[in-house]
């Protein structure tokens, strides 16, 4: 009845959990409440450990009884392990070895305030119940399981993040936005036409209706105090037209996504859900039980109906004519871009600064993809080019040996700095130099390692990364690079359009405004790399990665092709580094450690080598997640390492491997589209 591996695997799991328990993880998270006052992070952890193992074990058996038995076995083995540890802890002083147990004794958390023996028994009983529940849960249909697990997970995650993600959107705003979107979505039942433009129009009208209604209610004072409106709804009072346009657009978006391919449809549907959840928890330091319940129910509803809706949307999409399909795809990506553009206004400085970091790593990921994903050259010293970009901008934008005609700025009378340091550039002048310098240094570093392959290349590039950092840090180059003090301050980029007659003079001085620079950088990088990858040079890179000798025999100039990969890839790192430097308003050599290179390599491999969406996803997971999960404190890096291992074990090709290029389809599509035009010419 009990699966043959259950006991063995439960023992493995128990061992892993015990090791984690020895790090004091349960006590460490005990003070962080997730829901109300009683459910803390460590409760969640316990449920994950005991119930999760039970669920996992139950899933491999068939039939209720067997599932319950397996679940019970799994949960009990884990909990007995923990119980034994508690007994051991009370008998022997383990704190010399396991220092964190001193501060966070295991028993304090897991005994539920009872004495040792009754507490352990209670603990085991609870574990048994969890095991049985896990068995029962795994007996239900897939859909129920998905819904329950997803809802519980989102609920817990919300509870954890409530304190981090704050003041994003007020509840009335969130509800209004969701309503407009859903109204637009609901227009899919009006079957007048398949033409995407008309669909959009209908959706726009639906959204407009919502806007009108809301505006009316507000104007008559039925809904909210007109003097104390949240950000979006206050537009109704301040700028009615714009308010209506916003709501109409939301409705149009709803109409488009109602017939979009499954992936974008699902993604779009989660947006209003997330907004409402954020609205619910807005301004709270922790989540109350009622809020938790609402979140649970909302997520459950969406998850439950998602498969049906998504199937219908996909079906509708497939029914469309080719040009209409393309239109839908383009429109949905345009809406996505629009969301990206307004995101920082709501997300606030902190989330935006996390996004900035993510975007920076996306730029670098896309760049490094050229090296590793396309050309197959393993580069572990990508940080070198990043640092060069940052330093170039730093040197060119502030008084330095370079910009002051070889005189050290400290030797110049502060009043005369302006006259002497005539070389000081604006960001927009220095940026191209930074990109160019990084690219050129990339080529230069590439030359000596042209003949190296595989891991020899890896260690040499790693060495280059370290060399650049150490040179920047060294006292010997202090007059130029500032040694440990780095270069600061560096001015922020300034957009001054007054010279061309537009009254716009904005300094990109904070995380929100620099976000747009990063977005532009990502788009530029993605555009360039996508173009290159799908044409002659990209094919040359990829063939070189597959088989260098044959690629050469097919007429590919290896030296030129490799150096181009080095140069282009480094240029992107330089581009990111340049923005980084002026974002931080200073450059410190200690920013350029090996960990940067490792992060970039990891994120593109986790995302899927050679895939631009992969770089985005990889960066969100590896850079964004740990940054937001500051709640994990010191466990962040541990989780990061474990994530790398687990992700690779489960998905060796990455989360979003690049799709196979269907060139013949593109070709035939193109032919049908352009045939008449050609004859016309």
């Amino acid at each position: 009845m009990i699966h043959k591996n259950t006991i063995q695997h439960s023992l493995y799991a128990a061992a892993a959990i015990l090791i984690l328990a020895l790090t004091g993880i349960f006590g460490n998270f005990a003070t962080r409440t997730v829901i109300g006052e009683s459910i803390t992070s460590s409760t969640v952890l316990l449920v994950l450990a005991v119930g999760g193992v039970g669920y996992f074990m139950a899933n491999r058996a068939e039939g209720l009884v067997a599932k319950v038995a397996n679940g019970l076995t799994g949960s009990l083995i884990v909990s007995v392990g923990l119980a034994l540890l508690m007994l051991l802890e009370s008998a022997v002083d383990l704190t010399f070895v396991f220092v964190y147990l001193k501060r966070f004794p295991l028993g304090e958390e897991l005994l539920f305030g009872q004495e040792l023996i009754p507490g352990v028994l209670l603990f085991l009983a609870i574990a048994a119940v969890m095991g049985v529940l896990a068995g029962v849960l795994s007996c239900s249909s897939r859909r129920i399981q998905n819904t329950l697990v997803m809802s519980a997970a989102v609920m817990a995650a919300t509870g954890l993040l409530v304190n981090q993600v704050n003041s994003v959107i007020a509840l009335p705003d969130a509800l209004a936005v969701a309503a407009a979107f859903i109204m637009g979505y609901a227009t899919l039942f009006i079957r007048i036409t398949d033409k995407i433009v008309y669909r959009m129009g209908i959706g726009f009208l639906a959204g407009l209706a919502v806007g009108f209604a809301l505006g009316g209610f507000i104007a008559w004072g039925w809904l909210l105090d007109p003097n104390d409106l949240p950000r979006i709804l206050s537009l109704a009072v301040e700028n009615g037209i714009f308010f209506l346009v916003v709501f109409g657009t939301l409705g149009a978006a709803g109409a488009i996504f109602a017939v979009a391919p499954a992936n974008s449809h699902n993604g779009a549907l989660y947006v209003p859900l997330v907004l409402v959840v954020l609205g619910l928890t807005n301004g709270k330091r922790s989540m109350t039980p009622d809020q938790a319940l609402i979140v649970f129910v909302l997520v459950a509803l969406v998850t439950w109906f998602m498969p049906v809706l998504s199937r219908r949307a996909n079906h509708q999409y497939e029914q469309l004519a080719r040009p209409q399909q393309r239109g839908t795809r383009q429109l949905s990506s345009i809406f996505a871009v629009a969301v990206l553009l307004v995101l920082p206004i709501f997300a606030g400085q902190y989330i935006t600064s996390v996004l900035d970091l993510v975007l920076m790593y996306i730029i670098m990921g896309i760049g490094l993809n050229v090296m590793i994903g396309y050309a197959g050259l393993l580069d572990l010293g990508y940080v070198a080019a990043f640092a060069i970009g940052a330093y170039t901008v730093g040197l060119l934008m502030s008084p330095s040996l370079l910009t002051c005609g070889g005189v050290h700025p400290n030797d110049i009378n502060p009043d005369q700095i302006q006259q002497v340091c005539t070389g000081v550039m604006t960001f927009w002048q220095a940026w191209p130099f930074a990109i160019l310098t990084s690219g050129m240094v990339g080529v230069l570093l590439g030359i000596p390692v042209l003949r190296l392959r595989g891991d020899y290349l890896a260690i040499v590039t790693l060495g280059f990364g370290e060399i650049i950092r150490l040179l920047a840090l060294s006292n010997d180059l202090k007059p130029l690079l500032g040694a440990a003090q780095g270069i600061s301050p560096i001015p922020t980029p300034l957009i001054d359009l007054r010279s061309i007659g537009i009254n716009f003079n904005e300094s990109l001085g904070n995380s929100i405004s620099i976000y747009y620079l990063f977005i532009a950088g990502v788009m530029l990088a993605a555009f360039i790399v996508a173009r290159l990858a799908s044409t002659r040079l990209g094919r040359a890179w990829r063939s070189m990665r597959a088989d260098e000798d044959v690629a050469q025999a097919m007429g590919i100039h290896l030296v030129r092709t490799k150096l181009l990969a080095f140069g282009i890839s480094s240029a992107f790192a330089g581009m990111g580094g340049a923005i980084f430097g002026s974002w931080l308003q200073g450059i410190f050599p200690n920013s350029f450690t090996l960990l940067v290179s490792i992060n970039v390599v990891s994120l593109i491999i986790i995302g899927g080598l050679g895939s631009i969406p992969g770089a985005v996803v990889g960066s969100l997971i590896l850079i964004g997640l740990p940054e937001v999960l500051r709640e994990l404190q010191d466990y962040r890096l541990l989780a990061f390492g474990a994530l790398l291992v687990v992700a690779m074990l489960l998905k060796p090709d990455g989360l979003l491997p690049p799709p196979v290029r269907k060139l013949s389809e593109m070709f035939s599509e193109h032919r049908t589209k352009h045939q008449p035009e050609v004859s016309h010419e």
Partner: protein, 401 residues
């Protein structure tokens, strides 16, 4: 193609319009409101991870926590408002300082910040706090140029390196009567900065710096470097950095034959961890630190030991952190008003001014009087020497002028 361009342009136009409208409206809250059942939140930014750094950061957080325990409320008139802390990890690096600052300024409830811990983090956090109208008091950012007027939000209750370096140089030259020294730093902005000041001051006094070099953080074998030091034949080795490298240097110097040469460090290694790690090699090592020796300070340490169940504070900045906390609370009491609803209103600009107007506050580190540029540490540098496994006074506390 044209249609595509028009569409894209349209979306951008809408987004831009929305942006300008919404952002125009989105002015930073210039004051904080706290309801009677709410809390005044004070951020504490310090390094909570990293080899050799975490103990120092933890020490800062504990200092603030203890101060919070001693003084858990702010009293405005006869209304009391609770104060809570929000500790965050600034990783002792510019990126960390930036992230933490962004974190605090996007949380309107945070009234002021104790920290960040390291000068690079302070430098990165400065512009962000400035823009948001926040104010911060660092217990440990010692880089001299932080108070050169660049940052309106930056204050500190710790003597600058410019002072510590001079005191160290004077101690070595005058008190110890040493004329030849070698300096080593750990490549951190703090280490490099303090060493530079100290070396300059020492040369001015008439001493000679016979050897200057640096170590890489994370390296384990410094014997070759120490061998070069020995060849230069100094009378004292002056190291600025943190515990890990400091204790390795202190231990390995004997292998290089520097037995007779004195070893001196700064506040980065002023921690019992240094003594326990370096063991016998720590004996006789001089350490300069902003930590004073006074009765109220000793009482504070006793409470600290009691509260956190440790043998000794894990770093030198607990007192500075506690003072920073109290200076902030004093300022809140000075400028906070209770409005008709019974809510506490704190005007950020007024708070910032009130902090810089602090005069003659008797803190743990001495009498605190803030200057226009945010320099609040009237405090003093004390030089200790390790004797029989403990820090003992090696000189009178030197007050700044």
């Amino acid at each position: 193609m044209l249609r595509k361009i028009v569409l894209v342009m349209g979306v951008f136009a809408i987004a831009a319009l929305g942006l300008s409208l919404v952002s125009a409206q989105d002015t930073m809250g210039s004051s904080v409101m706290v309801s009677p059942d709410g809390e005044i939140v004070i951020g504490v930014a310090a390094a909570l991870s990293g080899e050799g750094l975490a103990p120092l950061g933890e020490d800062i957080v504990r200092g603030a926590q203890l101060a919070n325990i001693n003084r858990p409320t702010v009293k405005i008139g006869d209304v009391e408002f609770a104060v809570s802390l929000d500790p965050q990890d600034d990783t002792c690096a510019a990126e960390g300082g930036q992230a933490v600052a962004n974190r605090y300024v996007s949380d309107e409830r945070v009234v002021a910040v104790v920290g960040p811990m390291c000068s690079s983090a302070c430098r990165a956090a400065g512009p962000i706090f400035d823009a948001a109208g926040y104010t911060s008091i660092s217990p440990s950012c010692t880089a001299p140029d932080l108070t050169d007027g660049t940052f309106a939000s930056f204050n500190r209750v710790v003597p600058t390196d410019a002072f510590q370096g001079v005191v160290d140089a004077e101690f070595v030259f005058n008190t110890l009567g040493i004329t030849r020294i070698a300096t080593i730093h750990d490549g951190s902005p703090y280490g490099e900065g303090l060493v530079t000041v100290m070396a300059e001051a020492f040369t001015e006094l008439g001493g000679e710096v016979v050897f200057q070099d640096a170590v890489n953080v994370g390296d384990t074998d410094f014997r070759a470097l120490l061998d070069r030091v020995a060849d230069a034949d100094p009378e004292l080795v002056f190291f600025v950095g943190f515990i890990a490298e400091g204790s390795r240097l202190a231990s390995q110097r004997f292998d290089a034959g520097l037995d007779e040469v004195a070893f001196m460090g700064a506040d980065g290694i002023f921690s019992p961890d240094f003594i326990s790690t370096a063991g016998e090699a720590a004996e006789g090592v001089y350490v300069s630190s902003p930590t004073p020796s006074s009765e109220i300070y000793d009482a504070f340490v006793a409470a600290y030991v009691e509260e956190f169940g440790v043998e000794e504070p894990s770093g030198p900045y607990h007192a500075n952190a506690a003072d920073a906390y109290n200076v902030i609370l004093n300022a809140i009491e000075a400028v906070g008003t209770v409005d008709d609803n019974g809510d506490l209103v704190i005007d950020r600009a007024a708070l910032s001014e009130a902090i810089r107007a602090t005069t003659d506050y008797e803190g743990l580190i001495g009498t605190i009087t803030c200057e226009e540029n945010g320099e609040c540490a009237s405090a003093a540098i004390t030089i200790y020497q390790v004797m029989d496994g403990a820090f003992v006074l090696a000189s009178e506390t030197m007050e700044s002028e």
